[in-house]
């Protein structure tokens, strides 16, 4: 089981190593970590910390994409959840209540998406586009177009605090990832989600409750987005409805794709998507650390991502495989040592 997982995420691990090496090249001090004010301080920690929103979104997005769907609204849901949490805490509620309110907002958004997709049968890209557009407007209404600032140490601690020397967002996304991983792989959810993603009709006819599963994955995506939104708000001690989570849905989808998950649904790996999120964050980090003129930012990012996707393309993989095969390794690994001949006895 563990061996299979490792084999699945090996390409992503290799690319992450390359991306980190790139950081090292542009900034040799990249790997240095020291303690400062009782917390770990260094670029590597930043990658883990700044990758938190994308990582959280990627968890939910992986599940949604596994069902052959997509959720374009996660960025807007981040803005809504951040606004709701900020509003709750500025109107005097405890930060835990504010967090709860933010998560509830995310859950409502997720259920709305799930309803449109699973019950009304609207195509996911269209259904979630509704909330992508309207959601940010809702967030702006909540904050009245301004950045809604707060000073609650509890809520801002979610975004900028530290527990046992590690930034809180790192704990949160790792925790959510483990919980999600256990939830889908220790129960039958993962397999059922994959079944729905591969062939919903067949799965439904086999008695799988595809409707409930679809609603559930959009719900999880909404909750993950809400958590990311609260973290981002906590980080800057304010809910910025105009900018929070802007275009983050695209980073989340990219993380899932870099993670080698098919946009056509089916087999998925949350771990690989998380590595995808870290790869994206490493690329961002390398761009910042390189000190290149800002006009190059997007071009460099695009080139790096194209390179990553090319490395992962089936043709290149096959070429690598053939290259390995031609350099001394057994030319045909697929040939079985003792192939089965089931009907040998039947020959007349």
């Amino acid at each position: 089981m563990i061996k299979a997982t490792l084999r699945r995420i090996a390409p992503q691990l290799a690319i992450l190593a390359l991306a980190l090496a790139l950081n090292f090249i542009v900034f040799p001090d990249f790997f240095s970590i020291r303690m400062q004010n009782g917390r770990l301080y260094g670029n590597l920690v930043d990658v883990l910390n700044r990758g938190a929103p994308t990582a959280l979104l990627a968890i939910g997005m992986t599940l949604v994409i596994a069902t052959r769907g997509i959720d374009l609204s996660v960025g807007a849901v981040m803005a809504i959840a951040g606004a709701v949490a900020a509003l709750a805490v500025t109107s005097g509620h405890h930060w835990t209540a504010a967090l709860g309110a933010g998560l509830l907002a995310g859950a409502v958004c997720g259920l709305w998406n799930g309803f449109l997709v699973a019950v009304l049968g609207i195509q996911p890209i269209v259904a979630t586009l509704v909330l992508m557009v309207a959601g940010r407007g809702v967030a702006q209404l909540l904050t009245e177009g301004a950045i809604l600032t707060f000073n609650d140490p509890g809520l801002s601690g979610l975004g900028s605090g530290a527990i046992l020397a590690l930034p809180t967002p790192v704990w949160i996304w790792v925790g959510v990832a483990l919980a999600a991983g256990l939830l889908v792989r220790r129960t039958a959810l993962g397999m059922l989600i994959e079944a729905v993603g591969v062939n919903e009709r067949s799965a439904r006819l086999a008695g799988v409750d595809s409707r409930a599963l679809l609603i559930a994955v959009y719900l999880v995506a909404g909750l993950c987005a809400a958590l990311a939104g609260v973290i981002v708000a906590g980080d800057i001690k304010g809910a910025d409805a105009n900018n929070a989570g802007l275009w983050m849905e695209l980073d989340a989808i990219l993380a899932v794709v870099i993670g080698g998950n098919s946009l056509l649904g089916g087999r998925f790996s949350i771990a690989a998507s998380l590595l995808g999120a870290l790869i994206i964050q490493s690329v961002n980090s390398a761009i910042l650390l390189s000190g290149m003129p800002v006009e190059f930012n997007l071009v460099i990012k695009a080139l790096l991502i194209i390179a990553i996707l090319v490395i992962q393309s089936p043709k290149v993989k096959r070429a690598v495989y053939l290259l390995r095969a031609s350099t001394g390794q057994p030319a045909r690994e697929t040939r079985p040592p003792a192939p089965r001949r089931p009907a040998e006895e039947g020959r007349t």
Binding site: Q36, A146, D235, L298
Partner: protein, 320 residues
């Protein structure tokens, strides 16, 4: 002068419960606003409304929601209603000739707020805008004086790449510090005008340059500066003393930061574009005085010498 107007508007704003239309004696003015994409924009709307009420105008407000077609439609409707003047904050620079001609034919003066357009300047009365290059100059001049002769490495948080305020504010600042060889920009990255990105990029600056090697931060807007201040604090340094912070816009939160000693200076982009516009209109109505084609708003510098707590309290209610 302009500033006093703003303050008066603010003070009156609180008591402003009577609707504008109640003072029917005044002129009718149509105002086509871009939308409410930023806090500053919201404040501009608030201040314009307050200022109009105070002067006894009937202000017809139209929110274009970032679409030029909505603005043109609003202008045509203002013209049809026969308003006495039109204020427009144009969402884009081109495509205005026709509707502006219609306004001229109807003899309705048009004042451009905050941005200009690519149209012959006889099609509008005047344009009230801030000089964004000058804002950068003011910020740079302050830093030169604050630093004096010692060497100072500056990190710069740029606005959204390619946007005109980012280009102009960078240009003005560089012009100003060009005369001071001891000031040097060592890192410059975009923070997309947002608080979150300002914080992320500052974190990276602090690590790649080393916090001790950064003498000052210049941010193209206050939001990025506020984010960066948090990053500086989290790195164990004191913003405002270990690292000087100067930025532009003068939104309420930066006044608070200056009051708390965490930021040092900000250059105001006044939300009161309407005040000078109304002044020009009144002179024009009175005896046909033609204002200059460009009325530049004051780029006022706020430092710790001002009562920032008071300014914060005043500005808080403007919708920033």
């Amino acid at each position: 002068m302009i500033h006093r107007n703003t303050l008066r508007g603010l003070l009156l704003g609180a008591a402003m419960l009577t609707p504008a239309s109640a003072r029917a004696a005044g002129e009718t003015i149509g105002f086509s606003q871009i939308g409410s994409e930023s806090g500053w924009r919201a404040a501009e709307t608030t201040v314009t409304r307050q200022s109009a009420t105070e002067r006894g105008y009937d202000l017809k407000f139209a929110d274009a929601q970032q679409k030029q077609e909505n603005q043109i439609r609003a202008l045509r409707s203002f013209i049809a209603q026969g308003v006495d003047a039109i204020l427009v904050a144009p969402v884009v620079a081109t495509g205005w000739d026709e509707v502006l001609k219609e306004a001229r034919d109807a003899e309705i003066p048009v004042v451009l707020l905050d941005r200009t357009v690519d149209a012959p300047d006889d099609l509008y009365l005047t344009a009230v805008t801030s000089d964004t290059v000058h804002e950068g100059v003011v910020a740079g001049d302050w830093l030169k004086e604050a630093v004096g002769d010692r060497a100072c490495n500056i990190v710069e948080l740029q606005g959204t790449t390619g946007s005109s305020p980012a280009i102009a504010r960078k240009k003005g600042f560089e012009q100003s510090i060009a005369s001071a060889p001891n000031l040097k920009i060592t890192r410059s990255q975009t923070g997309d005008f947002t608080r979150a990105q300002g914080k992320v990029v500052m974190e990276s600056f602090l690590k790649s340059e080393g916090g001790a090697n950064i003498c000052a931060l210049y941010a193209h807007n206050d939001d990025m500066a506020v984010g960066a201040i948090q990053a500086i604090k989290e790195a164990g340094l004191k913003p405002g003393s270990d690292i000087l912070v100067v930025s532009i816009d003068a939104v309420p939160d930066i006044h608070l930061a200056i009051a708390q000693g965490e930021a040092n200076a900000t250059v105001e982009l006044t939300p009161d574009m309407a005040g000078p516009a109304f002044d020009a209109l009144e002179a024009f109505w009175k005896d046909g005085t033609l204002p200059p084609k460009w009325i530049q708003t004051e780029s006022r510098l706020y430092t710790s010498a001002d009562d920032n707590q008071a300014v914060y309290e005043e500005k808080k209610g403007l919708g920033y």
